[in-house]
């Protein structure tokens, strides 16, 4: 009974399906357009010396971004060292040491949610007031603290989700054997969830590596030379290097910024793909 009405309803349905498909294409296109623009503008700057040389001391053409690569790696690594144990412990509390609806568990989830909702520039001001102002000095470590605050809720959330997927049988098995809770966690539950926790940490690192706002406030006024000392002075880093170049009028700084953007984006996208592969493999191992 294909009346005109039904044909109209089918047409509406098809039109909506078409719009939904088109929207997805637009989103993927946006990713491609930005990536292609970064590659097109940045590829020219890229060379071995770009990766191993510092920017010229007083501006101008030439040089590379070695100091910023080293700085960002150190700052983010320190942030991960601070945030990962705290985040995993928070997740352990939620999954292993509290009833899901209990008041402390609800309070902790609220705290983590609100932390994730903090504007990153506010986190930067917080560390400025807490660390930079009293010490009268910007520092890479201050940057690490800010990034750790940004990473913590991400790691806690992803670890919690992984811990929840650890098969019940493993817990029941250790209980039946009379194994202490902490021993079961350290030897069975955490190792099982390790792949997923690692995935969450990698994604958090990728997120933190591109964070600019907090670093601009507390680790922004650096000299171009390479340093491995995170304390006492500002440490060069990729995001602030890009942002200050954007605000400057120096064309060679712009070229360097595009090159740095390409390096940063490549690292972040590779980390994202890698984390997803890792997650798929660890889920397969857990039989999910």
């Amino acid at each position: 009974m294909a009346s005109g009405n039904l044909r109209r309803r089918e047409a509406v349905s098809r039109a909506i399906s078409g719009l939904a498909t088109a929207s997805s294409l637009v989103a993927v296109a946006a990713l491609v357009i930005v990536t292609v623009a970064v590659v097109r503008h940045g590829a020219g700057a890229l060379s071995l010396s770009f990766l191993v040389k510092d920017p010229p001391q007083f501006g101008g053409p030439g040089g590379g971004i070695a100091s910023a690569i080293v700085g960002t790696s150190l700052i983010v690594a320190m942030a991960a060292i601070i945030a990962t144990p705290v985040g995993v412990l928070c997740a352990l509390y939620l999954v292993e040491f509290s009833a899901p609806g209990s008041r402390p568990a609800r309070a902790m989830r609220l705290a983590l949610d609100l932390m994730q909702g903090l504007p990153t520039v506010v986190v930067g001001l917080f560390i400025f007031g807490l660390v930079v102002k009293p010490a009268q000095a910007e520092s890479g470590f201050a940057g690490s603290l800010a990034l750790a605050i940004i990473m913590l809720p991400l790691i806690a959330r992803s670890s919690q989700e992984v811990l929840l997927t650890v098969p019940r049988g493993l817990r029941d098995g250790t209980d039946a054997l009379g194994v202490d809770r902490w021993r079961a966690i350290m030897t069975v539950i955490l190792p099982t969830a390790l792949g997923g926790i690692l995935t969450g940490t990698i994604l958090a690192v990728a997120r933190a590596a591109g964070e600019t706002a907090p670093l601009l406030l507390i680790d922004g006024a650096f000299t171009p030379g390479t340093t491995v000392q995170l304390f006492g002075h500002a440490v060069p880093n990729i995001p602030v290097l890009i942002f200050t170049a954007v605000e400057s009028a120096d064309p060679s700084a712009f070229a360097r910024a595009w090159g740095a953007a390409l390096v940063l984006l490549a690292l972040i996208l590779i980390a994202n793909v890698g984390a997803r592969v890792l997650l798929a493999r660890s889920r397969a191992r857990m039989g999910l």
Binding site: A22, S23, S24, M115, G117, L118, V121, G210, V246
Partner: protein, 324 residues
């Protein structure tokens, strides 16, 4: 967990989970609680620092700070009106564009796409959220703003120019509207991936029942899928709003750092977060610093509010674990 509790008669008797245990258990439990307290304490410390940093500005200007539009650090004039307006308008533009687009994407990924397409396109949409804001800002200045100025803004002005917010295009393309478009790119993946998970959680029986009485695909979506997930999707939109309100760097790059409230969104403006990021390198006085902290306090209140509202909406209907 309840099963575990009942295995331990003493804990079960008290209605708690494993309060007792070996020394190792108590140490690990203590560490977990310490980590939680650290997270909660950090949150309180953030609020305290921001309020105490803003104190000088609050005592000088009080609440009228919110409606004064002058921002002249050298003259000691500070007011948040331009930034409040820019933040509100750029976020509103971002939400108006991204909400329908993101829901459409979620519909495609959860109900229309073949499996092979879904496992490729889903992660690609999420990866859009992984692009650092500083790179979006760089792209925004060099690529997007000139494109907006040459093509999009004249076209909108031509068709909708009778509405004052679509004024004539300006010289650079940097402005509130372009900031809204950049924010759209950042917000879409958030709303889309959360909504997709919600749509996938709709019980199969409901959609099957609708289909079996002859509903078309769109009628199933409009009649079953959207109504059962509306609270979760609203929460996702609130989270997207929180992201848009708080974004500093991408907005700072393309909003044009204007000092005046313009009705036309193609003119320059400023946002709360962008002003903090842009001004911080050029602090001229203690009052200047305190006023930036005052802006951060407003931002903090907005950020916490959007999050709490999102939780409230989601938990009232308790749709999905993602928001729990």
């Amino acid at each position: 967990m309840s099963v575990r509790a009942s295995l331990n008669p003493r804990a079960a008797a008290r209605g708690r989970v494993a309060m007792e245990g070996s020394l190792g258990d108590r140490i690990l439990r203590g560490l977990c609680i310490a980590a939680g307290l650290l997270a909660g304490g950090t949150l309180l410390a953030v609020a305290y620092q921001v309020i105490s940093g803003a104190r000088l500005s609050i005592s000088t200007f009080g609440l009228p700070f919110l409606v004064h539009s002058a921002w002249a650090p050298n003259l000691g004039h500070f007011g948040a009106a331009v930034m409040l307006y820019g933040t509100a308008v750029s976020s509103a533009i971002a939400l108006l564009i991204s909400t329908p687009v993101a829901i459409a994407i979620a519909i495609y990924l959860s109900m229309l796409a073949p499996r092979a397409v879904r496992i490729v396109v889903g992660p690609l949409v999420e990866m859009l959220a992984a692009i650092p804001s500083v790179i979006l800002g760089l792209w925004g200045i060099i690529v997007l703003a000139p494109f907006m100025q040459r093509h999009v803004e004249p076209a909108l002005h031509g068709v909708l120019g009778f509405i004052p917010i679509f004024g004539p295009a300006q010289t650079t393309g940097l402005g509130v509207f372009t900031a809204g478009v950049i924010l759209t790119v950042m917000v879409v993946p958030i709303i889309a991936s959360l909504s997709r998970d919600l749509f996938l959680s709709v019980p199969r029986e409901l959609t099957d029942a609708a289909e079996s009485v002859g509903a078309t695909r769109w009628e199933v979506i409009r009649g079953v899928v959207l109504p059962t997930t509306v609270s979760g999707v609203s929460a996702a939109i609130m989270l997207g709003l929180g992201r848009a309100l708080g974004e500093a760097i991408a907005v700072a790059s393309v909003i044009g750092a204007g000092n005046v409230v313009h009705v036309s969104t193609f003119e320059t403006g400023n946002s709360l977060a962008a002003r903090i990021a842009l001004d911080f390198a050029y602090i001229v006085s203690n009052l200047h610093t305190a006023s930036l902290f005052y802006l951060a306090l407003i931002l903090l209140v907005f950020g916490l509010l959007t999050n709490l509202i999102a939780r409230q909406i989601a938990s009232r209907y308790d749709v999905h674990r993602t928001f729990a």
